[in-house]
Symmetry: C2
Subunit: 398 residues, 2 copies
């Protein structure tokens, strides 16, 4: 054993980081999201084209950590206090914003592949497609509204709150879909396990929250806070899978929610994000590119992708917009809310990845999801600007 071969990972990492950064910047210059650039970097340096980097067990595990960090960060950025204030309107919009795309995705799959009956593999694949459609990613909407100066307005705040609730409901839906997937699973057991997990998460989470509050008060901004927080995130991800049969990403997200209200939540989030964007994030997105094979791309899949994108966009407008209309909101404002909720991002990719990991869908489904991210991210800012130019928010009486 004269020469350890482990230094070979440094070559992979160097290429991944450079390519991800280069294409990420390029994508942003073309007004597309950076993650899309990173995925394309993976396609180019991977077996599809240049073959410089292959998927290895090590990279897959680094990417897994990347996923966990993204979900933890998403949880941390939830503002529970704001959420309590946001009220019934945002909650109802979020519910319909999950339900309509979920059903839409399911029906879309059935329309393309036929209905085999409840409980079949095809049935669950349909539910998975539905789950992928649920996750809103409002980053781009927030940027746009900020730029227009309407983020603090009533519509902007409603979109923001609804998007956060939307995430929580989406995670719950996904957890059930994955739980029921195992054909040997006892439905009662799945429901019990899932409910037990969330019940324990609330009770145990409250205790952990109080402990963190104490550490935070005594040692604010110390290194131990993000490190113990990260340990909690890994721990919950593991426990969710091991003891409750629940997706590890649910565990990581719940860990984020538990800590989102301590004073140093933003501090933890910053440290996690630095770890995320320096190594683990690029590895995850590049890995998606590495495993996306263009061989499986036939006309059927292309058609599916186009319709998939349309359904995903329209169902958000219908779900959120109609619900807003029921609350007697002005028509054009309903449209603003619906359009604002259309954007998808990392979480849609993570759910697709999860569906692949457990064998529910294959890697060809990355194509429609990537397409959806690109199209929604480019179109939403344009449409929102048009809507706000034509019909600015009514001036509110302070």
């Amino acid at each position: 054993m004269f020469k350890m071969e482990s230094y070979l990972i440094f070559k992979d990492l160097a290429i991944i980081l450079l390519a991800a950064k280069f294409f990420g910047i390029l994508a942003r210059k073309l007004k597309a999201p950076m993650v899309v650039g990173e995925i394309i970097a993976g396609l180019i340096i991977g077996p599809c084209l240049l073959g410089w980097v292959q998927q290895t067990d090590f990279l897959i595990k680094l990417a897994e950590i990347g996923v966990i960090l993204i979900m933890f960060s998403a949880g941390l950025e939830t503002n529970l206090k704001e959420l309590k204030k946001s009220g019934v309107l945002a909650f109802c919009i979020a519910c319909m914003g999950v339900l309509v795309p979920f059903i839409g995705g399911f029906l879309l799959y059935i329309a393309f592949n036929g209905f085999d009956g409840i409980g079949t593999d095809g049935f669950f694949r349909g539910l998975m497609i539905g789950s992928i459609m649920t996750a809103t990613s409002v980053g781009i909407t927030v940027e746009t509204l900020k730029e227009l100066g309407y983020l603090k307005g009533r519509i902007g705040q409603t979109i923001l709150s609804a998007a956060i609730i939307d995430d929580v409901i989406g995670i719950i839906v996904l957890t059930f879909v994955i739980g029921f997937k195992d054909p040997t699973s006892n439905p009662v057991l799945v429901v019990t396990n899932t409910l037990l997990f969330f019940a324990l998460a609330i009770v145990g989470g409250y205790i952990i929250y109080r402990i963190f509050q104490k550490i935070d008060a005594r040692y604010p901004h110390s290194r131990r806070i993000p490190i113990i927080g990260l340990a909690l995130c890994f721990g919950l991800a593991y426990c969710a899978e091991e003891y409750f049969g629940i997706a590890d990403i649910t565990g990581a997200y719940v860990a984020g929610i538990i800590l989102c209200n301590i004073r140093d939540a933003e501090y933890i989030d910053r440290k996690i994000n630095i770890n995320g964007y320096m190594i683990f994030g690029p590895v995850f997105f590049v890995c998606i590119g590495l495993k996306t094979s263009l061989d499986g791309l036939n006309m059927n899949m292309l058609w599916f992708s186009v319709v998939f994108v349309l359904v995903a966009l329209v169902t958000k407008i219908i779900g959120c917009g109609l619900m807003a209309k029921i609350f007697k909101i002005r028509g054009v404002d309903c449209l603003k809310i619906g359009v604002g909720m259309m954007t998808r991002g990392e979480v849609a990719l993570i759910i697709t990845q999860k569906g692949m990991d457990i064998g529910m869908i294959d890697s060809s489904y990355f194509t429609p999801v990537i397409l959806l991210i690109i199209i929604s991210s480019i179109s939403v800012p344009i449409i929102l600007k048009c809507l706000y130019t034509k019909a600015p928010d009514p001036v509110e009486v302070a």
Copy 2:
């Protein structure tokens, strides 16, 4: 493939982070360095005692990244401009501060194991022990001098400069020792390769430095700077091993030196450090504990450890102190310099790890190194305080 087993890594990571932080804090409370606490955490949770975490291929690779990040950071923290000012005195002290411990370590090994002749395995093992003794880690000395208010004094600045030059010389010595180790290696080729690497590093490094300066001027404090810097670090680590047969840690260190003078060097260093202390660093130090087996610890090794520590401490005092004396520095100040250079830290562990990776020494040599780190870190602050209380720095005429 219904259930991916990769979530098991989260259990390992959660335990490692919690244990490392807990014992790290405990060690600091007992005035010992945190890394020692983290190594002890590894001993406790590892196969030695509780058996909660085993060494896996994944953890070993994460630890390798940790090593690379530490060396990159050490390079980044080198201040070339200060170094140029520091002059002949610091340079001579550093040379003797490497040479005397190197010879001391070699002779110590010979004394315990006999001399088998030049070029034998035992000969190179002796050189390796010598290399381990060379690396000063002035962190604790700097802390102590800062506390005493003498860091900016002439003695403090001399120690600081000498310690930095000491690192550079130590790395060069190590590079040659490792290069010559391979019995099939052609000595001329090793020297040529090593010189070629450093020559290319200077020329290529200057070009890279200028490119980074430009990026830095256009996009100061942007994410691309630390990311491309990290890619450079991984790239050089890989190239050093692959094309020059040089240790990857040398490559990472050189990458740090190349970037240490750009304006955002500190910014890069901060981001690298956050990645280091959040995940990779703890994994590296805990892994040392995981692989340290107390089985191989016999009376001979214990005796060796005690003498090893004594030799390591005394040779630094002799090497640095005598050289200072030659420059006509006051006796007690020579002693301050010698004592200040005695502390060892992470780099000694990294060199030991490297020696193990390439099969030159076995894991039982971690024991003397850990002992050396503990004893030097605890004793140096006490001795320095005594010396400065009895004989403060002479007031300089400004």
